[in-house]
């Protein structure tokens, strides 16, 4: 029971920090609250017994990606924006409507088909490193290798972009 309470608390933190990311004018504050959001997501992963993913979330997202973000924000010295830009109202209304539509659509889908959501199994075995590794190197070997290729391409592309005198 206390664990489900923890889930709702951490979920609330995740939502709050996500809203903060979007609304804050200061890019550094956005980045920090995004890190907070990742941390709360990591806690949720722990509650869902996905230990490796939880640690990887902190390792990759919080530890590497967001540091890169902060690095760029500081490099470009993007302190704070002056104001939220003046979007025209039509655009704003349309985007809100679209998001609402998306939200309601999935909600309806969820209410409509209960068979989408299986009952949880008590014994969960897939959270550790061994099942994940086994799946990665047998069933998903090709995607795994392609992902490594993707990383290589990204590496080369980044070096090229950064080196080029523009």
């Amino acid at each position: 029971m206390s664990l489900s309470l923890l889930f709702y608390c951490v979920g609330g933190i995740a939502i709050g920090s996500a809203i903060f990311v979007v609304l804050n004018r200061n890019a550094v504050y956005s980045a920090i609250s995004l890190v907070l959001c990742f941390f709360s997501l990591a806690v949720i992963y722990l509650l869902l017994e996905a230990y490796v993913i939880a640690v990887l979330e902190i390792f990759i997202y919080a530890g590497a990606i967001m540091v890169l973000f902060l690095f760029v924000i500081m490099l470009l010295n993007l302190g704070r924006e002056d104001a939220l830009p003046n979007l025209n109202y039509l655009q704003r209304a349309t985007s809100l409507l679209l998001v609402l539509l998306f939200f309601v659509g999935i909600f309806l889908l969820m209410i409509g088909d209960q068979g989408l959501f299986p009952q949880p199994t008590e014994q969960f075995v897939a959270g550790g490193i061994y099942p994940l590794g086994e799946a990665l190197f047998s069933k998903y070997l090709l995607p795994f290798e392609v992902a490594s290729l993707l990383l290589l391409v990204a590496l080369i592309g980044t070096v090229y972009l950064a080196k080029r005198k523009v």
Binding site: V28, Y29, I32, V35, Y51, V52, V55, L56, I58, F59, A62, G63, A64, V67, L70, F71, M74, L75, G128, I129
Partner: protein, 344 residues
């Protein structure tokens, strides 16, 4: 979870926390004394017997000083940054086993706060978090020297994390597990089964990376006082500055403990079966762990007074062009060895 189990966990957390903090105090004293001896000086010897109360005197001084927050700093982050740096440093110790298990109240108690099955990944993840404290402290100070220090050290931490992680990978390959306890069990036996003898190259890379990760000389570019005044903590004073200090020493202690766990058999006493000796064996294992950690902490200070600081481009070249390929080569070697062993 029953009450006794819960109490045991709380006690373990408190013990580890207190031990780390005590270790920080001892390190502050040892750093000054050992540095003095290496320079043919005496060092602090006034407060208490031979100056052992010096860290407490320092602490009181820090508490009494004015807590200055400069006007143009980014206040929330400025106040938050030291805590962000200190907390991961203290949290890392949670997964490091500091002794074999003991039998108390009719149950087996492992001398480790949490036996996480992805222990080593947890450690690496928390190490990568500590970048934030430095970067944010540098940025929020609104001081170009602090910012430069912060940027430099974040680049340095990211670069050396890679080499460190790859060096650890070869250990993981040997042990076949991410649990730190399994890694220790894998090294039990004689001296020669310690990973430093099985993986000397990985040890070297890991050790160098650890020095870079803890921002110690010869990699203390983030606080190179000749160029950057004081680096990221230039604008800090009083207890906030003390927190940076404590974080640095706590980081050193965890790094030393990690080195011992990964390469020196952890709490393992060579040629001895701790389990057969009961409580005495457990105490012996804790003692051996503390002694090994103490040696590495001494090495930190020793290296500090021996090697000059790297230039920034040298640092990057070492990290990316030497350590990374070497670590990859080492993984290749280890993989080859394991394949041959599996085949024949």
């Amino acid at each position: 979870m029953d009450l006794l189990g819960f109490t045991i966990i709380v006690v373990k957390v408190l013990v580890v926390f207190a031990a780390t903090m005590l270790g920080v105090l001892v390190m502050i004293y040892a750093e000054r004394r050992v540095s003095a001896f290496m320079q043919d000086r005496v060092g602090p010897n006034r407060v208490g017997f031979k100056g052992v109360l010096q860290p407490i005197a320092d602490g009181i001084k820090f508490l009494m000083k004015e807590d200055l927050v400069p006007e143009r700093v980014d206040k929330p982050i400025f106040i938050l940054a030291p805590a962000i740096l200190l907390i991961p440093a203290l949290m890392t110790f949670a997964v490091i086993p500091f002794g074999s298990s003991i039998n108390l109240f009719g149950r087996e108690i492992a001398l480790q706060v949490a036996d996480v099955n992805v222990g080593i990944l947890y450690v690496l993840a928390l190490t990568s978090i500590s970048v934030y404290g430095i970067v944010l402290a540098g940025w929020s100070s609104n001081n170009k020297y602090s910012l430069l220090g912060g940027l430099r050290s974040s680049a340095q931490l990211i670069s050396y994390e890679l080499a460190m992680g790859l060096a650890v990978v070869s250990i993981i390959l040997l042990a076949g597990s991410l649990r730190l306890n399994d890694i220790i069990t894998d090294q039990q036996g004689s001296f020669l089964s310690w990973n430093i003898f099985r993986q000397p190259l990985a040890f070297l890379i890991f050790l160098i990376a650890v020095y870079a990760e803890t921002n110690r000389l010869p990699f203390d570019l983030s606080e190179a006082e000749q160029e950057l005044v004081g680096g990221y903590h230039t604008e800090y004073s009083s207890m906030k500055f003390a927190m940076f200090f404590m974080a640095e020493y706590a980081n050193m202690i965890t790094a030393a403990a990690l080195t011992v766990t990964l390469f020196f058999g952890g709490w393992d006493v060579p040629l001895l079966d701790e389990g057969s000796l009961g409580l005495f064996g457990a105490l012996l294992s804790v003692l051996s762990f503390i002694l090994k950690v103490a040696f590495f902490l001494f090495l930190f200070i020793w290296v500090r007074w021996t090697f000059p600081r790297f230039r920034y481009d040298q640092l990057m070249r070492l990290g990316w062009k030497v350590m990374l390929p070497l670590a990859l080569f080492n993984i290749f070697l280890t993989g080859g060895y394991l394949t041959i062993k599996a085949l024949g």
